[in-house]
Amino acid sequence: MVDVMGPDLISDLPQSIIESILVQLPIRDAVRTSILSSKWRYKWALITQLVFDDKCVPFSNDREVVEMSVVKFITRVLFLHQGPIHKFQITNSKLQSCPEIDQWILFLSRNDIKELVMELGEGEFFRIPSSLFNCRKLTRLELSRCELDPPHSFKGFVCLRSLNLHQVLISPDAVESLISRCPLLESLSLSYFDNLALTISAPNLKYLYLEGEFKDICLEDTPLLVEISIAMYMTDDIAEHFEQSSNCNFLKFLGGVPNLEKLVGLIYFTKYLSIGIDSVHLPIMYHNLETIELYQVNFEDTKEIFVILRMITSSPNLKELQISGSSNIPVAVDAPDLDFWEKGCLLDSALNKLKTMKLSEMGGWPHEIEFIKYLLCRSPVLETLSIIPCVFDMENNLKMLIELVKCRRASSRAEVIFIHE
């Protein structure tokens, strides 16, 4: 049965290449290579990245059966594995909290784990064991739906560069101290946190992503921040807090980020920034800020508009602007305060680099039109202005179009694209 074949093409390649190949295979296929030939018997056991997803065990409708097979499989793989494990990832929706996970994390803490990603299925939150905090070489930590309780003596992860906590139960103090104790932290992502007043002190932080119910966000020491994305949800508590607040949030938030390149704000972010904005004299310029995206902006609130204009004024190199209005139909009965647009030089200089503007969820309300007019007059190199209306009301859209056509344009090349159904 033995054919005369050519020489072995692959078994003698250096382990780094074999690892590169095996790591790009699903874990089951990688483990299966053990029966190919005697040379391949333990090649898989040396790989330094173990990724277990929903496909790592055969499918079955019974969740508990699948969970059992996943647990057995992972335990077996870890037991047979040789050498360091740099990356360990479980993203399996059938696996829920179980005692074996503690043992796995203990095992990993003894094997130089660098990247740990755990995203378990819906269910009881898993409580992270203390052995996690002994992983000295951790560079990336991503946890989902678990309870994190760092011990008091925890000195931080000295090598951690990326932290991503999604729906994690952790006390606010613990979060802040965790962040401040990771000196090399470059990327921070916190999502679905409740009622958090957060002060971030991270001298090396470059990427910040926050999503949740935040009462307050203070970027105390983040000089190197390059990209920010914030989504702030509202609760009654938070609304009250906003009303009572006397700080200037704009300064608190954007006061210390001179290197910012991209800013994305969602839901109540603009509202948050609008608090205390009147008293602001903005000394800071954001010379690197090229992209601003603000969603759910309430054009009825002139303060929010003011926030946008202030931001634009401070960004001489702005290239791309995306604004999305809120889809609420305005309730104000009084005539809008259009003087707002006349008074004071809101924008002295032109936006010399602005090339793309995209406005969505536009209802055609007076302030929105004024806003568009205002910007069109001041963007000499504008190439595209896209407008997406929020209501598919032909009459309303027609009114909007008529107003838009009247606008003067500073840029002869500007294309105004009205996108409708």
């Binding site: 020489p7 093409l9 390649l13 290449i17 190949i21 190919l36 055969p58 097979s69």
Partner: protein, 354 residues
């Protein structure tokens, strides 16, 4: 002083001129030029690692030529590459790795020796795609891997097996089946060796004939056994096999011709019992066992086992008749110089009906 061209020497000793900008995309060449000042003339051509042949070098240079164009590099993260450029790069990369497996392996090896990581990742991914989802046989064939693991090693439950006794039974069946196939191979080669042996006494021949007469009966008994036994104990079968394999190991010479027959007997018995087992097994095999064994492989073995069983069942009545009649005929031809061939042919026929 940046010359536009540098000189590279490949594993076969040939030296070629390459645009410096393109060659510098390879970290190793870059280092050689900058740190050691090599490559500026034919005399101090940069010696490329042994794994880089001229053909692979030309492929690598094509890759470098495309990717070194500013804006196409992977290193740009913020701001991200525009979508059109990303798609262009992806499409180029996908076309680039379309080649036969041998060249792909050589290319990976060469890229690795030149420390060109993006190309190593690309080619590894292509190789991973080749391996993914294929059965072990297919993978062995593609990469010319020797099938040199023992049965136990192969059946070792490294994967996701359960403790289901049915699976253990199936595993044992597979093991047995493989052993059997090996048996047959070995016996066939045993016969070939028999050709060379020419020293047999008449006594031996006579005893063989006598043994042969008993044979059909032996077969009959076996067949009866088949009707009686539907389920057998595992260890019985195992011991049968052991006997057979033990007998096999004896050297082939004239004295053992008798043994060859008993061997065949045992094998026949084992084969039948094996078949029985398969049927017995199939009684409580619901067909949806998750045994963690590669499904394609399992299917193949299932098919083989069924084939085998079918042949066994269909052939027995006819073959028996044949043997009975041929046995009587052959008796008269005993003392012909072709005595050997008679032995051989009989044995052959016997095995053939298996």
């Amino acid at each position: 002083m940046m010359k536009p061209y540098i000189w590279l020497e490949t594993s076969d000793g040939s030296i070629q001129q390459v645009e410096q900008e393109i060659a510098m995309y390879c970290p190793l060449i870059c280092k050689e030029i900058i740190q050691k000042g090599m490559g500026s003339s034919k005399n101090c051509a940069i010696c490329l690692p042994q794994r880089v042949s001229p053909a692979t070098l030309s492929l690598i240079l094509d890759y470098c030529r495309f990717h070194q164009v500013p804006g196409r590099s992977n290193k740009v993260l913020v701001p991200a590459l525009p979508l059109s450029l990303m798609l262009e790069r992806k499409s180029y990369d996908e076309k680039f790795v379309r080649m036969d497996t041998k060249r792909l392996c050589e290319l990976t090896s060469a890229a690795d020796s030149l420390q060109l990581k993006p190309l190593v990742d690309l080619t590894s991914r292509a190789l991973a795609r080749i391996i993914e989802g294929k059965s072990p046989e297919e993978i062995r064939e593609i990469f010319h891997l020797p099938d040199d693991l023992t049965e136990e090693e192969k059946l070792e439950p490294l994967k996701n097996t359960t403790d289901d006794p049915r699976i253990r039974l199936l595993n044992r069946l597979y093991a047995k089946k493989r052993k059997e196939l090996k048996e047959r191979e070995r016996l066939k080669s045993v016969e070939v060796e028999e050709e060379h042996i020419d020293k047999r006494s008449v006594d031996d021949l006579l005893s063989f004939i006598n043994g042969n007469d008993e044979d059909p009966k032996g077969i009959k008994t076996s067949k009866n056994k088949k009707k009686n036994r539907r389920k057998k104990e595992q260890h019985q079968k195992n011991s049968c096999l052991k006997e057979a394999s033990g007998v096999n190991k004896k050297e082939v010479n004239g004295q053992n011709i008798r043994h060859t027959n008993s061997e065949a007997d045992i094998i026949a018995e084992t084969s039948i019992s094996h078949t029985e087992d398969v049927f017995a097994h199939k009684e409580f095999d619901d067909g949806d066992i998750d045994d963690g064994i590669d499904p394609a492989l399992k299917e193949k073995i299932d098919r083989e086992v069924e084939d085998f069983a079918r042949r066994l069942n269909s052939d027995w009545p006819e073959r028996m008749q044949e043997l009975l009649s041929s046995g009587q005929e052959r008796k008269t031809m005993l003392f012909s110089p072709n005595g050997n061939s008679f032995l051989r042919r009989n044995a052959c026929m016997f095995f053939h009906c298996l």
